[in-house]
C-alpha cells in the first residue's frame, strides 16, 4: 500500500469546482446545525433587503400605473407646453403659450391633425350649483381631449367641435365635481354656474379614482373658445397643445419643425433656450421612468445602508464561529487543506448566510409591499421588477463576502499546530 502514492493530477478548474461544491455543502451543513443562530444572524440582512424590496415594489407599482395612464396617448401624439427655464424664472419671467401659437401650429405645420388646445382656467366665482360650490379645475379644451386623456363620458356627451365653434355654454363634469355640487347621478340638462355664467351640463365623465391621495375627478370641461371668451381678451390663459402626427416616422421631423416655428415666433435668439417644450408620449414616459428610477435608487441606497448593519451581524457570528471551529480548522490544515481552501470555506459560508437572508428578505419585502398597497386607499398593486431581485441577491452576496473577509482571513491564517492544540 505504501509503495506507490498515486499521482492524483486533476484538472484545476474541475478541482476548483469540487472545492466550491464542498464549501457550499459544508456551509449549508453548518447553517442547518445552528438553525436559530443562523436565522438571527440573517435577520439584519432579511430586514434590510425586505425594506428595499418593499419600497421598490411600491414605487414601481406606482410608476407602472402612471405609465398605463399614458399608454393610450399613442406613440404619434405630441404635447407642446410652455417651459420656464431657470434663468427666466430667476428674472421673474413666466413663459406662456398663447392661442396665437395654436393657430400658428395648426396652419403652418403640415402632416398633423387633432390639434387640441387645453388650458386650466382660474375663473372668479368658481363652480357653483345653488348653495354648493366645488373647487374643481376648469379645463377649456376641444373634443379630442377625451381621446388624448383616455377618459370618456359616463353619461351624456363630451364637448363637440360645434360647441367650440359657436362658443356654447355647455359643461361636462368630473365625478368628484358632480358629487361636491350635490348633483344627482344623472344630471344632464341641469344648469350650473361656471365663473359666474350659466352652463348646461351635457355629460358626466367616468370616475378615474385617486393618485397620491389626490382625486383625479375634480374637474369640469368647457369648450375651449367658450373658455377664452369667458377669460376675456386681457387675460389670455397659458395653453397646452395636444396634436397627433399623421405619419409615425415623421414624429422627430415634426418636433423639430414645431420647435423652429415657435422659436421664430417667440423671437428666441440662437443662443437662448426654448421657452416651450415639445414632448412625445415616449419622452414623457421616459421622463417618468427616469424620475421614478432616481427616486427608487436614492431610497434603495438609503435603506440599503441597513444591509451593512446586517453584514456586521454576519461578521460577528462568523468570528465566533471561527473561534469555535478552531480545532476543526486545525484538523483540516493537518489533513492538507491549503490556506485558500479555508479562506474560501468561510467566505462562502458568510455569503450563503447573506444570500439566504436576502432571498427570505425578498419574499418578506414583497409581502410587506402587497400589505402596504392594500392598506393605502387607491394605491396600485406593487410590482417587484427582476432587476430588484437580482440586485438584492447580488448585493446580499457582496455584503456577505465583504464582511466575511475578516473572519475567513483569521481562519485561514491560523497556524495548524496552534489550531490543533486549541481546546
Amino acid at each position: 500500500m505504501s509503495d506507490a502514492a498515486p499521482i492524483d493530477e486533476v484538472n484545476r478548474l474541475q478541482a476548483f469546482f469540487y472545492a466550491m461544491q464542498e464549501c457550499v455543502r459544508s456551509a449549508l451543513g453548518s447553517i442547518r446545525s445552528h438553525r436559530m443562530r443562523s436565522f438571527l444572524t440573517m435577520l439584519g440582512v432579511i430586514i434590510g433587503v425586505a425594506s428595499v424590496i418593499c419600497i421598490v415594489s411600491l414605487l414601481q407599482g406606482l410608476t407602472r400605473s402612471v405609465m398605463n395612464e399614458f399608454q393610450g396617448f399613442g406613440g404619434n401624439a405630441l404635447q407642446i407646453h410652455s417651459d420656464t427655464s431657470r434663468e427666466d424664472w430667476l428674472i421673474g419671467k413666466w413663459n406662456m403659450l398663447k392661442p396665437a401659437d395654436l393657430e400658428l401650429v395648426k396652419h403652418r405645420i403640415a402632416g398633423i391633425s387633432n390639434v387640441t388646445p387645453t388650458s386650466g382656467l382660474n375663473l372668479p366665482g368658481g363652480v357653483r350649483y345653488g348653495g354648493n360650490t366645488s373647487g374643481a379645475q376648469v379645463i377649456a379644451t376641444t373634443s379630442w381631449f377625451q381621446f388624448a386623456n383616455q377618459s370618456y363620458p359616463r353619461i351624456g356627451r363630451f364637448v363637440t367641435d360645434s360647441d367650440n365653434n359657436s362658443r356654447r355654454r355647455v359643461v361636462v363634469l368630473g365625478e368628484k365635481a358632480r358629487a361636491d355640487l350635490k348633483l344627482p347621478e344623472d344630471s344632464i340638462g341641469t344648469f350650473i354656474q361656471v365663473g359666474g355664467e350659466w352652463f348646461k351640463v351635457v355629460g358626466i365623465m367616468e370616475a378615474r379614482g385617486e393618485m397620491f391621495g389626490q382625486s383625479m375627478d375634480n374637474y369640469v370641461v368647457i369648450p375651449f373658445e367658450t373658455g377664452r371668451a369667458l377669460a376675456g381678451p386681457e387675460r389670455e390663459p397659458d395653453i397646452t397643445i395636444l396634436l397627433t402626427v399623421d405619419n409615425l416616422d415623421a414624429v422627430n421631423d415634426v418636433t423639430s419643425r414645431i420647435t423652429a416655428l415657435l422659436r421664430r415666433a417667440h423671437k428666441i435668439g440662437p443662443k437662448d433656450s426654448d421657452d416651450f417644450k415639445v414632448q412625445t408620449s415616449q419622452s414623457l414616459t421616459e421622463t417618468i421612468q427616469r424620475v421614478s428610477g432616481t427616486i427608487t435608487l436614492v431610497i434603495s441606497a438609503v435603506v440599503g445602508i441597513s444591509l451593512l448593519v446586517g453584514g456586521v451581524g454576519i461578521m460577528n457570528i462568523m468570528l465566533v464561529s471561527v473561534t469555535e471551529r478552531t480545532r476543526e480548522i486545525g484538523i483540516a490544515k493537518a489533513l492538507g487543506a491549503p490556506r485558500s481552501f479555508i479562506l474560501m470555506q468561510f467566505l462562502i459560508e458568510a455569503m450563503v448566510l447573506a444570500v439566504i437572508g436576502g432571498i427570505i428578505g425578498i419574499g418578506f419585502g414583497w409581502l410587506l409591499g402587497v400589505l402596504a398597497a392594500k392598506m393605502i386607499p387607491h394605491f396600485p398593486p406593487p410590482a417587484v421588477p427582476w432587476w430588484a431581485i437580482v440586485g438584492a441577491t447580488g448585493f446580499s452576496a457582496l455584503v456577505g463576502m465583504l464582511f466575511g473577509i475578516l473572519p475567513a482571513r483569521r481562519a485561514a491564517n491560523l497556524a495548524p499546530i496552534d489550531a490543533l492544540r486549541h481546546e
Binding site: 486533476v10 484545476r12 469540487y18 491549503p338
Partner: protein, 228 residues
C-alpha cells in the same frame, strides 16, 4: 526516506529561549516501524510536528521522500501533508457532524478529486479497517476503538508514504489498544512506514525500532524484535 540533519527547534517564551529539539540526526527508511518515546517535555511532540510538516524546524534540514521540507511555503507544506503523511491523533479528531465516509474522504477534497472518486476510496479505506458496514454512521455512534479505526482509515485514504500516530491508544482501554496496535502491525506487514509517538512502554513494545528522546536530544536508538 526520512532524513533529519542537525534539526533544532527553539521557542521564544517572552525573554527566555526554550530549546525543544537540539541537533537531532535521524534516518528512517521505508517500511520501518518506529516508536518515538520519552517523558513529557522531552520534545517528542515537537518532533512529531516537525516530522508531520506541521511546524518548521529552526535549524537543520529535513528531507522527506527526497524533498527538502525546510524551505517550503505554508501551502506547499499543506500539499506535502496531504500527499505524503497520514495523521492519527490521540483524540481521533473526527468531524462530529459528518458521516464516517465523509470523514475519511476529507483529505481527498484538498486534492480536488470528484465526489464519486472520494466516496469510492473512502469506502475502500473503511473496509481496510473493518468498518465497511458503517460508512454512513456518525462518529458519535461508535466506540473509541472504532473511532480510532476511522481515523486510521482517514490517514490511509490518501495512500501516504508514512503514517504518523500521536499517542494513538492514549484514550483507549488496554484490550482495544491491543486491537489498534494489531491494525498498525498489519499495515506494517503490508509495507507501510509507521512512526508512533508514545510514552506507553506497551505500545513501544510493538514497534521494531525505539527512538528515545530526553530534553530535546536522542538518548537511545535501538532495534527490537517487536510484538506481533
Amino acid at each position: 526516506m526520512i532524513e533529519l540533519r542537525g534539526i533544532g527547534k527553539t521557542y521564544q517564551m517572552g525573554s527566555t529561549e526554550l530549546v525543544a529539539l537540539a541537533d537531532i540526526n535521524l534516518q528512517i527508511a521505508r517500511n520501518e516501524y518506529v516508536a518515538l518515546v520519552g517523558p513529557s517535555g522531552s520534545g517528542k511532540s515537537t518532533m512529531m510536528n516537525v516530522l508531520g510538516c506541521l511546524d518548521l524546524p529552526t535549524t537543520g534540514t529535513y528531507t522527506l521522500d527526497g524533498e527538502a521540507v525546510a524551505g517550503l511555503s505554508e501551502d506547499q507544506l499543506a500539499r506535502v501533508r496531504n500527499r505524503k503523511i497520514g495523521f492519527i491523533f490521540q483524540s481521533y479528531y473526527l468531524m462530529p457532524r459528518t458521516t464516517l465516509a465523509d470523514n475519511v474522504a476529507q483529505p481527498l477534497i484538498y486534492r480536488g478529486l470528484a465526489p464519486g472518486v472520494r466516496r469510492e476510496r473512502a469506502n475502500a479505506a473503511l473496509a481496510r479497517v473493518g468498518l465497511e458496514a458503517r460508512t454512513l454512521h456518525k462518529p458519535n455512534e461508535l466506540s473509541g476503538g472504532q473511532r480510532q479505526r476511522v481515523a486510521i482509515a482517514r490517514a490511509l485514504v490518501g495512500r501516504p508514504d508514512v503514517l504518523l500516530a500521536d499517542e494513538p491508544t492514549g484514550n483507549l482501554d488496554s484490550k482495544t489498544a491491543r486491537e489498534i496496535m494489531g491494525v498498525f502491525g498489519d499495515l506494517h506487514a503490508d509495507g507501510m512506514t509507521i512512526i508512533i509517538v508514545t510514552h506507553d512502554a506497551a505500545v513501544a513494545g510493538h514497534c521494531r525500532r525505539v527512538v528515545r528522546l530526553h530534553d530535546g536530544h536522542i538518548v537511545e536508538d535501538r532495534e527490537q524484535a517487536g510484538l506481533a
